[in-house]
Symmetry: C2
């Protein structure tokens, strides 16, 4: 566990530095492969004007650039806080091997970052959510999947 502790401390130090410099929210993440740090991500939401620039997303995008791949098999992610639904989804799509996190959703909520609220919204029917999600034109939408099915030489992911 000494190795994991060292990596998490690296992430925590990055996050504290991000706050000190006023470069974004109090979060950092690193992607590690075979003992090598592939990328360091810090929250950049307010400085990049990008609501998706959470530490994990920033680190995943950077690690993928480094590897020239859209997959992070064989990689571990160290993040200073339990991933929000967006970052959790990004981790699954990247197919990382494992995640280590320090603080919990509840800790984030107590600090004013309401990941828990988004997790709760997921279990509510889409049209009744705080941001209503309304379905229409499904038949036309299915035409896109039909085009995909027929497409030759497609790259699956």
């Amino acid at each position: 566990m000494a190795y994991q502790i060292e990596m998490m401390r690296t992430a925590v130090a990055l996050a504290v530095e991000n706050v000190r410099r006023g470069e974004g929210g109090p979060f950092a993440a690193i992607v590690v492969k075979e003992g090598r740090i592939l990328s360091r991500g810090t929250n950049r939401v307010t400085t990049a004007n990008d609501p998706t620039a959470h530490a994990e997303v920033v680190a995943i995008r950077e690690a993928c650039r480094t590897l020239g791949s859209f997959q992070l098999e064989g990689c571990e992610i160290y993040t200073t806080c339990e991933p929000c639904p967006m970052c959790l989804g990004a981790i699954y799509w990247a197919r990382a091997d494992r995640v280590y996190f320090a603080c919990t959703q509840a800790d984030a909520a107590a600090a004013g970052f309401d990941d828990s609220f988004i997790y709760q919204e997921i279990s509510i029917p889409p049209d009744q959510r705080r941001i209503p999600m309304i379905q229409h034109q499904r038949t036309e939408g299915l035409g896109v999947f039909e085009a995909w099915e027929k497409k030759e030489g497609k790259v699956r992911y």
Copy 2:
């Protein structure tokens, strides 16, 4: 509803074109504010080597760049498929007003895009997930939130 139908058809046409050109997966999204299309996003996962380049994320990032803001209040998002957890999270963080979608999670799963699997994983305890998520060093992690709490002049989001 005629207006919403027109906007969804614009998104569907974009997604079909994305497949035809071999530029990524069968998904597109547009962000609309007061009747104006702010951004058009298509899936770019395999061509950009970016697992986070889902249509909604691409469209949200571009709309925020256009507005010079990390918030999409007053905006509606039209997407050809029900958002995956990553995109759903991005929509909440961007604080869009409303989402319209055509196909469902089940339609996406039938076409080989297993959003539903990720939704299921969310309800499983973190350390028992297919991608295990393991907590440690919480006390050190809380130090980041303490630094944030004390930080003067911080930009909340």
